[in-house]
Amino acid sequence: MMNDDFVIADVKLKSRLFLGTGRFANPTVQNEAIAASGTEVLTFAIRRVNLQEPNEDGILQHLDLDRFRFLPNTSGAKTAEEAVRIARLARASGISNWIKVEICANDKTLLPDPVETLKATEQLVKEGFVALPYTSDDPILCKHLEEAGAAAVMPGASPIGTGLGVLNPYNLSLIVEEANVPVIVDAGIGSAKDVVEAMELGVDGVLLNTAVAEAKDPAKMAKAMKLAVEAGRYSYLAGRIEKRRYAKASSSTTGYLSK
């Protein structure tokens, strides 16, 4: 695709698909899915080491660290303060200064807390992080996050893990219209159709996890998502036709054989 670079914090990415690493059945299935997805950006969470089993596998042991960019998240944080603390721990690992700001204050919906998300983003940008906040699909909030220095804004399509797809295409399209930073739809994707729908709205990328990890064939679904991101992007750039109420023949309306 000519002149259609996808750049986050001066890093040019070939793939517009970000993949989460949760909920895969095992590392083999996960690696097959990662390879099939073509993704360059993987997300992770930070948790305590289990002191009873300190030798159980860490997620990164099975990955070629040089091939990917890492986007740790601040999941588990319920306040800006907790998110900043998790972000500092993630950065101290030495593998990335990118951070997905994720602050969920409601256990049932896991919807992001807009006030705390904005506060955390402001603080993390001050501390030199490349902050990519997971946010509500609110155009004004996304603007505030951008002004706070977010490297991208990541509105949800629908709540995390639901697979409900794009619930508010109107809001997402407004966010795209207004944004001067990349817009990445994060969370709620159920299948390739949802990815195409999001990409056709003009978003720059998609972050998903459960839809691949819990598909019956994760590697096949990962491939589907890769193609859907590309199809949706091309379709958006190509410019779709106007919808019409009535039919319009695709062949010439003269020269019919019968009258």
Binding site: G20, T21, G22, R23, F24, Q30, T43, F44, A45, I46, R47, R48, V49, L51, P54, N55, G58, I59, L60, Q61, P72, N73, S75, R85, R88, L89, A90, A92, S93, G94, I95, I160, A187, L207, L208, N209, T210
Partner: protein
Amino acid sequence: MRLTVNGEEKRLPHVKNVAELVAHYKLEDKLVVVEIDGDVVDRSEWQSMELQEGMSIELVHFVGGG
């Protein structure tokens, strides 16, 4: 030495610094990050950072997540 490690009370008589604590759990070759009383301790400081009675220590790592 009485310490709180990942929220659990521990008695670790032979552990004097962060490097020894990490080694105690056989984590020295893993990508773990250490926090003491709310502050990150860089890997380069593990040897020199002496542990004190009652410190609250977090040993964290990356796990799968979206």
